[in-house]
């Protein structure tokens, strides 16, 4: 297949599947909290609706930055689609994608001039603690498989079985990242409702629709990477079931867990990351 067609198809699948999964996430949270909740398709409809809504630009925004950061967010997750489902390339590039995502959170908040955005921007720096368990998980996968290449890691698992069974603590660390990126997460300090919508507060109308487009892709890519790294070669049905199950678990956890304050969020993630890292190293050595 033509490479560009492959990329376009994967981006569209990522957007549609990601939107529906985020809709499912909201539905699960609502049902756990004994609310009817919106239809599963609501997140997708919102993205499309916002896309054609009027966008006004507040007086205090730094205009090129304010629009540019939304562009960068989309570019970052298209890199995620290319490195993941399309080319199955290096994990290090994906780590770079997450690092740039943090920069986007930070700069999106600061570009608006709003105090809510700025507070979220400061918290984005703190929440970079999420990157530590991610980096540790990548290192452990490398130590176990001897490769950073996703294609090689898939081959390793088809020969030796899923990594989720041989290095389960590394899988937990990666799952922690998924949890922290899921909507209404206990670790989602940048989007705390005390900050309205955090770094997204001043991006409304079309720009919000564009952000939602990128976030749908990001959810799909993160789930895809997790399933591929720890559950080996999967069929399309396997990915679908895996993504629904993880969305269900994160939805359930987020529905019953209050948001932590920034200090507790960072310390919890670092502590779990450290315990899992040491545990996995011991498991590999023994």
């Amino acid at each position: 297949m033509n490479l560009m067609a492959d990329i376009l198809i994967n981006v569209i699948i990522a957007f549609l599947a990601g939107s529906l999964l985020l809709g499912l996430h909201r539905k699960i949270m609502a049902r756990v909290q004994k609310r009817p909740g919106p239809p599963i398709i609501q997140h997708l409809l919102h993205s499309l609706k916002f896309f054609f809504k009027e966008t006004s630009f507040p007086k205090t925004v730094s205009m090129p930055f304010y629009i540019g950061i939304v562009f960068i967010l989309a570019a970052v997750w298209i890199v995620g689609v290319i490195v993941g489902p399309v080319s199955k390339d290096s994990l290090l590039i994906l780590f770079g994608v997450y690092a740039v995502y943090k920069i986007v959170e930070h700069n999106s908040g600061s570009s608006s001039g709003s105090p809510y955005g700025k507070a979220s921007c400061v918290r984005a720096v703190l929440s970079a603690a999420t990157e530590l368990p991610l980096f540790a998980a990548i290192v452990l996968v490398y130590l176990k498989t001897g490769s950073m290449n996703i294609g090689n890691i898939i081959s390793y698992q088809s020969a030796n079985g899923p990594l989720a069974f041989s290095i389960p603590l590394a899988a937990i660390m990666f799952f922690l990242l998924l949890l922290s990126k899921s909507p209404y997460s206990p670790f989602g300090i940048t989007k705390d409702k005390a900050l309205i919508s955090g770094f997204e507060t001043e991006h409304f109308g079309f720009l919000r629709g564009f952000i939602m487009f990128s976030e749908s892709i990001s959810w799909y890519v993160m789930l895809w990477v997790f399933l591929t790294l720890f559950f080996g070669p999967l069929t399309a049905v396997g990915y679908l079931i895996g993504m629904i199950v993880i969305t269900f678990i994160t939805g359930f956890i987020n529905a019953v867990t209050p948001i932590l304050n920034p200090n507790h969020s960072v310390m919890t993630q670092i502590t779990i990351g450290a315990v899992c890292f040491v545990g996995t190293v011991l498991m590999i050595l023994i």
């Binding site: 896309f51 007086k59 205090t60 960068i72 989309a74 298209i78 290319i82 955005g117």
Partner: protein
């Protein structure tokens, strides 16, 4: 506030670049570059052109407040 001409130019350039990669088999690094820059640029310029605009008499009102909750 948004330059319409610039958006049209960017939309045309990104559309041509994406279509060129679809029709011609170019080297992988060129296709990746076009995808990473061209797809978000296409969505951004298309969105800025097609989004609803405020009425003439409402334009000032839209930017009166510096930010939400002011």
């Amino acid at each position: 506030m948004v330059n319409k001409t610039l958006c049209i130019v960017l939309l045309i350039i990104s559309t041509i670049a994406i279509l060129a990669c679809l029709v011609v088999n170019l080297e992988a690094w060129i296709v990746y570059s076009v995808a990473i820059i061209g797809i978000p640029l296409w969505v951004l310029s298309f969105g800025l052109l097609t989004m609803a605009k405020p009425r003439e008499e409402d334009k000032e009102e839209r930017v009166k407040e510096p930010f939400t909750g002011y």
